[in-house]
Amino acid sequence: MIKFIKFLIAGVVFGIIMTKSEAISWFRIQEMFRFESFHMYGIIGVAVGLGALLTFILKKVDAKTMYGTELNLTPKAMSVTRYLVGGTIFGLGWAMTGACPGPLFTLLGHGIWSIAIVIASATFGTFVYGMLRSKLPH
């Protein structure tokens, strides 16, 4: 039980960051895809820049988790089709709903109940992917 509390707190912090950075805003996502503001590019750019530096250092010093196990940095299997096609399909949905999976849950906490429709539909989308998986090019 105790081991889950830290993830709960991390999630709360994530929800606050997503809200205060306005990354959960449908309007911010429209603005980003219309190239009319630097805001979202700034957030993602700093997150990736600092994230890459920190990940590099973690690997360099062979950092471990708090339990002494290997960090979860498994390389992703190389392919083009699944990432490009899957990514494009996700991008269509991201621009429509103005939310990626993380913000979906934070918006629910804002009391925007209609976002539950998106969560349900996204779960169904994942289910359909699971059913069609063997027939899709990867």
Partner: protein, 191 residues
């Protein structure tokens, strides 16, 4: 402190906070990637009976369900106790474009929202509401699993780990996002 946190955060602060959170999750023995929770939802609903894709070690992912539960609570806290006095500072050109397709950009937080357009989210059973929420949601769930991750897993975690597959996925995110924003969404919004 509350007052300090309540002002809108600069993008550089938010970006740095996300990178630190990603490292924290790695140290905790998890990783930053939200969309795999949707696969867990399917497994919990019994999808393992019809597809082997949903027969997996979901119990090792319970921490991630706890994390998104926290994300809901964080949204509640931020929307109740850390509300900014200023509206979202959306660029003038976006505001005027949206108004031309019938979407009003909120100028204050008085109705508790201000993050999503009322025309879609307060009227989810309108034609455009249904199309956007249901089809958009489907694309999110199908696309993220096909691509093996979303913004957190590919754009933040994957790019930070210099993964070429993640870069390809992010290129895809933008191909889809730009096509939707420029070519398709304007027509849906005008419905």
């Amino acid at each position: 402190m509350i007052e300090f946190l309540s002002q809108p955060w600069h993008w550089s602060i938010a970006g740095a906070a996300i990178a630190l959170l990603m490292v924290l999750l790695l140290w905790f023995g998890g990783k930053f990637g939200v969309s795999s929770n949707l696969r867990t939802f399917c497994t919990l609903a019994g999808a393992g009976k019809v597809s082997d894709f949903f027969k997996w070690d979901w119990k090792a992912q319970i921490w991630n369900l706890v994390f998104i539960t926290g994300a809901v609570i964080g949204g509640f806290i931020a929307s109740h106790y850390l509300v900014s006095s200023e509206p979202l500072n959306i660029s003038e050109s976006t505001v005027s474009y949206l108004s031309s397709v019938g979407i009003t950009t909120p100028q204050d937080f008085s109705n508790g929202g201000g993050f999503v357009p009322a025309e879609i989210f307060s009227d989810p059973f309108s034609l455009k509401g249904l199309i956007i929420l249901i089809i958009g949601g489907f694309f999110i769930g199908f696309g993220t699993r096909y691509a093996g991750g979303c913004t957190s897993g590919h754009a933040i975690s994957g790019l930070s780990n210099l993964q070429l597959p993640s870069l390809i996925a992010v290129v895809g995110f933008f191909i889809g996002g730009l096509a939707m924003t420029w070519l398709i969404l304007p027509s849906i919004l005008k419905l």
